[in-house]
């Protein structure tokens, strides 16, 4: 039956998901409700992302899955294996050769290209959630572009911390219209959302929401004129493995005596650079 019901989902589910995705693409940044299905993994492990990926996959696709930038963590490995088994698609760890990339908490360092699809796993799709608890009210706020409250939140950050203290899930405005939660990616990745040649899809399984950024969509991080957005990361550090200065770094504690190192969070990017350096040396 794999020819008929390709990639795990039954026909009706796939149609429902694709309709939701089409609608999301048509209204960039708008959260489209969908009837999320049970997936063979717990909520919080990427059930939304898996459904979106399954709805997008074609037999000729090459899939890459990353978790916090890494291809080799449990979540990434199990989802990659899952699709290799149920859809039989090729898998890869190389960003450049993948046609569909499912991600948790990162956007790859290697620039994406036209034709690629980036699928984000989203825990909480509603950017206004912790400012306004009523879902009816947040929907109305989106509908009426009533976004002063979000700005108040950023004001409070500056008043309290001297800067906008959000390091991840930093809210963005899509095409000057909807305010969107970019999923918990570090704010370092926010500029990559803007004007990306790839199609970016966001799936929240538990919350039953899908939203999207079609290729070349204008995405601005919210800020103040006198406190502009900055895509910061660990200051003054380079990757201990590949020496990269331009990539997002993870801090790794190496012993109990305060020893630590900074390494690229994007394992493919790091490995590619190390390989190139070895080639140059040879």
């Amino acid at each position: 039956m794999t020819e008929y019901n390709f990639a795990y989902l039954d026909e009706a589910t796939k149609r429902m998901l694709r309709r939701a995705i089409l609608k999301a693409v048509a209204i960039p940044g708008y959260q489209v409700p969908f009837s999320s299905r049970e997936m063979p993994m717990p909520y919080g492990w990427g059930t939304g992302g898996v459904q979106v990926t399954a709805a997008c996959l074609l037999p000729e696709d090459t899939l890459k899955v990353i978790d916090q930038g890494a291809d080799d963590t449990t979540n990434a490995v199990s989802i990659r294996k899952f699709f290799a088994r149920v859809a039989g698609v090729a898998t890869t760890e190389a960003t450049a050769t993948a046609s569909v990339i499912q991600t948790r908490h990162r956007i790859p360092e290697t620039p994406l290209t036209e034709g690629q699809i980036l699928v984000f796993q989203v825990p909480i799709p509603e950017p206004l959630r912790f400012l306004e608890p009523r879902e009816t009210e947040t929907r109305t706020m989106h509908a009426l572009e009533d976004y002063g409250l979000m700005q108040v939140r950023l004001y409070e950050d500056i008043a309290k911390h001297g800067e906008i203290a959000r390091a991840y899930a930093y809210p963005v405005r899509v095409e000057g219209r909807y305010i969107m939660d970019p999923s918990p990616i570090p704010k370092f990745d926010n500029p990559k959302l803007d004007n990306s040649p790839a199609l970016q899809l966001f799936g929240a399984g538990r919350e039953c929401r899908i939203y999207a950024l079609p290729p070349y969509t204008r995405v601005e991080s919210l800020d103040f004129d006198d406190y502009p957005f900055t895509a910061s990361k660990a200051a003054g550090q380079v990757c201990a493995i590949c020496g990269a200065e331009d990539s997002y770094l993870d801090e790794v504690i190496t012993d109990d005596a305060g020893g630590r190192m900074f390494v690229c969070s994007d394992t493919d990017y790091c490995a590619t650079r190390v390989a190139a350096q070895a080639e140059d040396a040879a």
Partner: protein, 256 residues
């Protein structure tokens, strides 16, 4: 001169029960109108219908908007009404908790409306917020304190600052001095009177305190069982009441 607010045949029913019935009045720029009546007389229902919090069943509420002139706020779209509520209108609740964001600093509370209408310069917003705190007699060094840390009177003044920062032309007040100590009430009344005069505000004040309307309101409307039984110049209604209910109301005030 164009009236700021024209109310024609406004009625609101709760099922078969009359909330307020066939209310008509015209409010001119710079006028302060009081609405008095006992609990359940329909004064809060009327205020909520005027301020767009509630849709009346019949009638028109025509407001002279800055950009398009007189418009019926009952039939305008929700975004238009919300825009008015953030710009030309202000609403001061009896309980400051209903009108303030309690988990946001005083500065953020005042800046809220500015940001809602598009202000994006932190320094300017903060300066304006500090300025308004001073105008309502709150020490500007407390700009980063949350309203919880304020006394009831301060919270009420903060609510007023938050409402007036966008320069509204019409202020709705629901028992603005209701929950306050007498001494704090006096201070607030003085402040309100000064602001109304300096900013040329018009206001509709709902209260059951006749002393408050005498000091603040130019005109007075008396409501009973959802209907307006008498309206006119404040001191004329209070000193020479014509309707039986108004006479009862005026004669029931305890003399100090």
């Amino acid at each position: 001169m164009t009236p700021l607010l024209q109310v024609e045949g406004l009625s609101k029913f709760y099922g078969t029960h009359l909330g307020c019935g066939d209310v008509n009045f015209t409010l001119w720029p710079g006028e302060v109108m009081g609405i008095v009546g006992e609990s359940g007389s329909g004064k809060s229902t009327l205020l909520n219908c005027l301020a767009g919090h509630m849709a009346p069943d019949t009638g028109r509420v025509i407001f002279d908007t800055r950009t398009d002139g007189p418009r019926d706020t009952v039939t305008m779209t929700e975004p238009e009404r919300r825009w008015l509520a953030r710009t030309d209108w202000a609403f001061v609740h009896q309980n400051p908790r209903d009108g303030l964001r309690m988990n946001v600093s005083a500065g953020g509370n005042v800046g809220d409306r500015l940001m809602a209408v598009g202000a994006r310069h932190y320094g300017d917003i903060r300066r304006e917020a500090g300025d308004w705190l001073e105008r309502v007699e709150i020490d500007p060094t407390r700009i980063d304190d949350r309203p919880r840390a304020f006394s009831g009177g301060m919270q009420q003044r903060l609510q007023i600052a938050r409402n007036l920062v966008t320069g509204p032309r019409l202020v709705f007040m629901d028992e603005p001095t209701g929950g306050l100590d007498v001494s704090v009430q006096a201070r607030l009344l003085d402040l309100l009177r000064g602001l109304v005069r300096r900013l040329g505000l018009s206001a509709v004040i709902v209260t059951h305190d006749l002393a408050v309307v005498r000091l603040l309101a130019d005109r007075l409307m008396v409501m009973k069982d959802g209907c307006v039984v008498e309206q006119g110049l404040t001191d004329q209604v209070l000193d020479d009441p014509q309707h039986a209910y108004t006479q009862l109301l005026v004669s029931s005030v305890l003399q100090v």
